[in-house]
């Protein structure tokens, strides 16, 4: 969890930047690269240590995928608002982090990248779990948790009023 904690910290520090100016587009991409590096390292570690311990290597990859998807879901689609005051009189109070990226524009480079990461991770987890059906169910459901809220059709939609206020 250490690397996720780092990512969370790094993200929360810069997350509002792109709301304010265009420079931050660079900022968010740097964050993504940072995040990716952390994930890759995390995966390596997971594979390395679990293979030497009693935990099965397949479990390690599924675990990585689940941890990644759940934490990204919480960071991007549950957390609303900004860590500090913005000059928009509280518009961001009702928007999730994902909705705030690139002023709410869809299919931007940042958003395309952030959509690809969980899919690639799913492929990896499936491959290393040897296409086991139980692993498939777990991996596919956490993937759905990450892909469905990213769809443009669900921009600013709160299903059943969940997380509305």
């Amino acid at each position: 969890m250490y690397c996720y904690h780092l990512v969370l910290l790094a993200l929360s520090e810069h997350w509002d930047g792109f709301k304010i100016d265009d420079l931050s587009h660079i900022g968010i991409r740097t964050e993504c690269v940072f995040e990716l590096t952390k994930i890759v390292e995390g995966c390596k570690n997971a594979v390395y240590y679990t293979s030497r311990s009693s935990v099965d290597g397949t479990v390690a990859w599924t675990l990585t995928n689940v941890l990644h998807d759940v934490s990204m879901f919480v960071m991007l689609h549950v957390t609303k608002g900004t860590p500090w005051e913005t000059p928009d009189q509280g518009v961001a109070r009702t928007e999730t982090q994902w909705e705030q990226i690139d002023f709410g524009k869809q299919f931007t480079a940042t958003k395309k990248f952030l959509t690809t990461v969980p899919v690639v991770l799913f492929f990896l987890a499936s491959f290393y779990s040897r296409y086991d059906k139980y692993h498939f169910v777990i991996n596919a459901s956490v993937l759905a948790l990450n892909l469905i809220p990213k769809l443009p059709q669900l921009h600013k939609v709160r299903l059943f009023g969940i997380n509305k206020y």
Partner: protein
């Protein structure tokens, strides 16, 4: 793939791919297609309306450019008064209008601080140290030691933890409200609040619930209504902030807000109170601490007090005071504080000196109150005039007892009264509003402000002159309904010739 330990059999894994179940393959292909689709999609903004070319053309055709500078009507009150009145020298207790010395009942010089020798000396001393302007906002090279001293002294004077200075009285409350109240929050505001407060309410983007002027029952009914809504939607209620915004002493009506009842409602319904004391600071209460002292309520009960240094203190700017954590929030979120050059240091030291004088001579407040009451008594008995305002308020509004019903006509009648009084040596003013911008239409009135240094004879004389002016104008209006000439018309002629000679 050096990281993958040797115990992992790559061959085994590839065999896994070959034996993968069909549903898994279908799912992965679908994912790949989704990713490809996302990558080839153009980015777009879902909230932006996309116009067709035809729609664009019609919009361009329909567009009529607005004039760069709007046409000003020839009878605009400011143009008219510029032609009519020429003021020379300082606006103290007496003001020289068109070369004639008049008792000044038009400016908010309640404590007669304008033109005080001690204040001028202090300001000059500061001028020699700091120069004229501070040349920057408070957070950006604009903070001088006098600003900090003034903030400390104001906080001490108001018995609050901290005070924050603004360089413009109007901007104080107009910045303070939107610093705390955001979109989705609720503000209960008195219908009669001044223009600065109204601008603050607009800038906050919050839901505004207006309650009738000083009508606590109406306010309570609104609060009960909201309480019912909150019970239905507790999640929303949890993130909604609520504020009551009132003025201590109302500029537009000269009466005092019922603060004890407001504090009671505040604790009962969990609302915060913002108190605008532009008019009551240095006026109400035994030592001039405003409406909280007037009702003997601890300032701790009020979440934010905003006051102006432009009225009784006769300097520029304003300040907010309250608890430390509340005030500190404005140092980064008060727009008027962050993005405006700080108060000129010499005016800050003038305000410091005025505050010192107010503290050392509380007698002037007693004088002011006596004058207000005496004036009120005199005005009450005037035929044809209705006086609005509290007896102890230094602001009094004189209205026609029998208004014509047409505000424009009433304003003209009152203007004639003002001209008449000005001719006899009393400077008055008709209260002016930015009508289309105001929340409610305002009744025409003459706004009278009382000075603490007026002697009893001066009060009696001005009351007599006002009474006579009203009588003269109303008499004229009843005898000749049309073609009423103002006694200042002759002066107007003089001014024109004066202008021509220039």
């Amino acid at each position: 793939m050096a990281v993958i330990p040797a115990t992992w059999d790559m061959y085994d894994l590839i065999q896994g791919v070959l034996q993968a179940p069909w549903y898994h393959m279908v799912f992965e292909v679908a994912l790949v297609l989704l990713i490809v689709k996302i990558y080839i999609s153009q980015s777009f903004s879902p909230e932006k309306t996309v116009l067709t070319d035809k729609e664009k053309e019609t919009l361009v055709e329909e567009w009529v450019p607005e004039p760069l500078a709007p046409d000003v009507p020839d009878d605009h009150p400011i143009l008219k008064s510029m032609e009519k009145y020429c003021i020379e020298g300082q606006n103290g207790k007496y003001v020289t209008v068109n070369g004639k010395s008049c008792i000044n009942l038009a400016s908010f010089n309640f404590l007669s601080m304008v033109g005080k020798k001690e204040i001028e000396d202090e300001a000059l001393k500061a001028l020699k140290v700091y120069g004229v302007g501070s040349c920057g906002p408070r957070g950006f090279y604009g903070t001088m030691d006098v600003h900090l001293h003034l903030e400390d002294d104001l906080a001490k004077f108001m018995n609050c933890e901290e005070a924050i200075l603004y360089s413009y009285g109007f901007a104080t409350i107009a910045s303070a409200i939107p610093a705390y109240s955001k979109r989705g929050d609720i503000i209960y505001a008195d219908e009669n609040v001044g223009f600065a407060v109204q601008k603050g309410l607009t800038a906050s983007r919050s839901h505004i619930r207006w309650f009738r002027h000083n009508d606590m029952e109406h306010l309570e009914s609104l609060l009960i209504e909201q309480e019912k809504l909150d019970k239905k939607n507790p999640k929303k209620a949890k993130v909604t902030r609520r504020f009551i915004v009132v003025e201590g002493l109302y500029l537009n009506s000269g009466d005092i807000c019922p603060l004890p009842k407001l504090v009671e409602l505040k604790w009962k319904y969990k609302v915060r109170i913002f108190l605008e004391e532009a008019m009551s600071f240095g006026v109400l209460g035994q030592t001039g601490r405003g409406v909280t002292e007037h009702f003997e309520i601890s300032p701790d009960h009020i979440d934010l007090i905003a006051a102006s240094l432009e009225t009784a203190i006769a300097s520029t700017g304003g300040f907010c005071c309250g608890k430390k954590f509340i005030i500190d929030h404005q140092r980064l979120s008060g727009l008027g504080y962050c993005f405006s050059a700080s108060q000129p240091p010499m005016l800050a030291s003038a305000a410091l000196q005025a505050l010192k004088m107010l503290e050392s001579k509380p007698r002037i407040l007693v004088d002011l109150r006596e004058n207000c009451e005496r004036f009120h008594q005199k005005l009450m008995n005037m035929p044809g005039v209705k006086v609005i305002g509290d007896p102890i308020s230094p602001i009094k509004h004189l209205m026609l007892a029998e208004p014509a019903g047409d505000p424009g006509l009433d304003v003209r009648t009152l203007e004639m009264v003002v001209d008449n009084a000005m001719n006899d040596g009393v400077a008055l003013t008709v209260s002016r509003y930015l009508e289309p911008e105001e929340h409610l239409p305002k009744d025409p009135s003459i706004r009278l402000s009382v000075n603490c240094e007026l002697t009893h004879e001066e009060i009696d004389r001005s009351a007599d002159i006002i009474s006579q002016s009203f009588q003269a104008v109303l008499g004229k209006l009843t005898t000749r309904s049309l073609d009423v000439s103002s006694p200042l018309n002759s002066v107007q002629q003089d001014n024109r010739s004066l202008k021509a000679s220039r």
